[in-house]
Symmetry: C2
Subunit: 125 residues, 2 copies
DNA sequence: AGGCTGTATCGATGTTTATTGATACAAGCA
DNA sequence: TGCTTGTATCAATAAACATCGATACAGCCT
């Protein structure tokens, strides 16, 4: 049930450290990989789903608990969960009748690293 | 030239600290605000533009240096820059003939905070 | 003023995406 | 076996988006 995950973002830069947005201009490939993940986060429903999963105490959430939290059809929720999974942000497992989702924290951590701004930036921001 | 920025993300949670994805389920409004910013990052061209701006030494980049780095028309680059600006990620100023963009690091920092995962998560991730 | 260059906006177009109802698949239970 | 429930997939549709050419705007220069 977790085949088609993105591999993405393993690629440390050859020329030193810190694969950060502000370190050096992203090359096309890396930008494309990152964009896929950010795009997955770029929807309010998916953000809420991810947050519900990530903040769950046991670490797992049943789809049956997620779906009724939205005024959306069951296929729509299923679709959004699939996108989050394809982005490598969550994974899932069927256990009997129900399917449980949990967070893969690694991807969020890597995104956090990418976004980190090293210095007061020199600029005026 | 910097009127229509997003205000977004100032909202600390009433119940304590750390407005993180994994702290508690996002409410609809906050999810919608965050989604706008992530959506702005969810495009490879915009990511590369942002990275080119953020990694620039002087802190500023002339549009005339950005546009030729892509095989895209000038209006398209202008459009992407506008989206990044509306997301509160960058700002710009016309200086004579040219327009210069720079990073607003605050938004990236806030996103980084939101993505931070507090613990080994309890779960299986 | 007129012409030139850099950048933004506008309108149109093709593609992607969110959403849904219908349906298929999986697992439990009678 | 057949029925019921939970979840995923499919096909269709409408909305959102990326892209472009044309054009408008802003500031130089002559």
């Amino acid at each position: 049930m977790s085949k088609q995950e993105l591999v993405v973002l393993g690629q440390e830069q050859a020329d030193g450290c810190c694969p950060t947005l502000a370190t050096a201009p992203l090359d096309e490939e890396r930008a494309a990989d990152l964009a896929k993940v950010f795009k997955a986060l770029g929807d309010p429903v998916r953000l809420r789903l991810l947050s519900m999963i990530a903040s769950r105490d046991g670490g797992e959430v049943c789809v049956c608990d997620l779906t009724p939290a939205f005024e959306l059809s069951q296929p729509t929720i299923s679709h959004h969960l699939k996108l989050l999974r394809q982005a490598g942000l969550i994974d899932c497992e069927r256990r009997g009748t129900w399917v449980y989702y949990w967070l893969l924290p690694g991807m969020l951590e890597r995104l956090g690293d990418v976004l980190r701004v090293p210095q007061p930036t020199g600029g005026r921001g």
